[in-house]
Amino acid sequence: MRYIIFGLLMQLCMVAKSQELFVYTEPASNMAAKSIGFRLNNTFMKVDGTQKYNYHFLPEIMFGISKHIMVHTEAFFSTRNNGLKAEGGLLYMKYRFYSEDAVHSHFRMAVFARGALNNSDIHQPAINLNGHNSGLETGFTATKLINKVALSAGVSHLYAADNSNGNKFYYGKKDRNAMGYHVSFGKLLLPKEYTSYNQTNVNGMLEVLGQTNLQSGKSYVDLAPSVQFIILSRMRLDIGYSFPVLKDLERTTSSGVMVRFEYNIFNAF
């Protein structure tokens, strides 16, 4: 497995073109001002130790407020408890505060905050504001194009509140805080040469996603390879698979597939 991962990383470092529209994480760049993006996020996560899959449906709307600020809103639905049920939603905001651009390259930094409300039962000590926990996340992301390879890294602080409907975070008061981190690589596979906006772009990504609980010190680290199709320069189809390489910090589902469809409208308001 180590050799495979090393091989994939080497591949990504040797590519001619890059992308930073990552599947599992947000880059430091923002969407265009006055644009709106619609996303249908779907995750199929295997319940560890069983043959059962949990389906999470997370519709999302994104707004480019200005060149510096973008906002996401997202709703949560899942089949964790008998049928597809609405479980809450989140608000995400990113502020790009630094940009150093050259032709075909850039270095950007951004800070972000995510607030989530969730009414489902809490079932794991790992914190996931994207459909599992109520809470707050604040973080920092930096993204750079180096020799036309996109590299993004970020770190965040996660705080898990009690979920609504009387669902307590019962793993201990100090276990409510965790550190999240990620490193993401991206590569444009097709087209070899750009000729028009109608060409479908195919991107390959590899992301490392981790979390360490600040009280217990336990961690999980996932690897998430993904493929992305950009259609007509305004739509995206993302297909990813995440699996753990370290699962010290317990989760009920640790591996599974993500399928996302995204549609962007430029100059929408």
């Binding site: 073109k17 890059s18 992308q19 930073e20 529209l21 760049s29 923002n30 969407m31 265009a32 001002a33 006055k34 644009s35 480019g64 200005s66 060149k67 790009r96 940009s99 651009d101 050259a102 032709v103 075909h104 390259s105 850039h106 194009l145 036309k148 444009l188 040469e193 750009y194 000729t195 028009s196 906006y197 060409q199 772009n201 950009i230 320069s233 305004r234 995206r236 962007n264 430029f266 100059n267």
Partner: protein, 180 residues
């Protein structure tokens, strides 16, 4: 009557021939087609833009302006920045009509004030290409290098300062620093 005909013919000539016909810009900070399309759509939203021809590989955009429409280079730059990127290079095709340019002289033309940094007293006639070299229109390295072309402080700020007082420009009015 002859004077009236002369005035009318001058007016007609100035309307018939647009002063700025095309702007070519290169954007920085992008490699993907969706990012390029964001700039393309952003530029097309301007009411004075007739057509945008883009090259995704080189991040360049050839913008044809509507004849007679008023515009400023800052309008175009803002749209590139709104899309999340920056201008690395901007050239404009300008139809000049008997305009004499001297070094460090300010000239009102096409609804904008130009400061030619490399004017040598030449008289400009017909289609010429000028490059805007203000801050934010070239790389920061090029902006620093071009400082050697003038000692006037308006180059650093892009607006009229004390250095421009003798030419009667109102304080803080926008000046586009260009080379030809």
């Amino acid at each position: 009557m002859k004077k009236l005909f002369l005035i009318m013919s001058i007016l007609f000539a100035s309307f018939a021939q647009a002063q700025v016909t095309k702007v070519n810009l290169q954007a920085s900070g992008l490699t993907c087609s969706m990012c390029s399309n964001a700039i393309n759509k952003s530029l097309k939203s301007l009411d004075f833009v007739e057509k945008v021809m883009s090259n995704i590989s080189t991040s360049t955009f050839e913008i044809t302006l509507k004849p007679g429409a008023s515009f400023t280079f800052d309008d175009l730059k803002k749209k590139v920045e709104d899309a999340g990127f920056f201008v690395a290079n901007m050239n404009a095709d300008v139809n000049f009509s008997n305009i004499k340019v001297e070094k460090d002289q300010h000239i009102n033309y096409a609804g904008m004030t130009f400061h030619f940094l490399n004017g040598k007293g030449q008289v400009l006639n017909g289609a010429k290409t000028i490059q805007v070299i203000d801050k934010g229109y070239v790389t920061s390295k090029a902006f620093k290098k071009n400082q050697s072309l003038t000692s006037m402080e308006c180059y650093k700020t892009g607006v009229a300062g004390k250095c421009c007082a003798k030419e009667g420009l109102s304080s803080e009015s926008r000046i586009y620093h260009v080379t030809i």
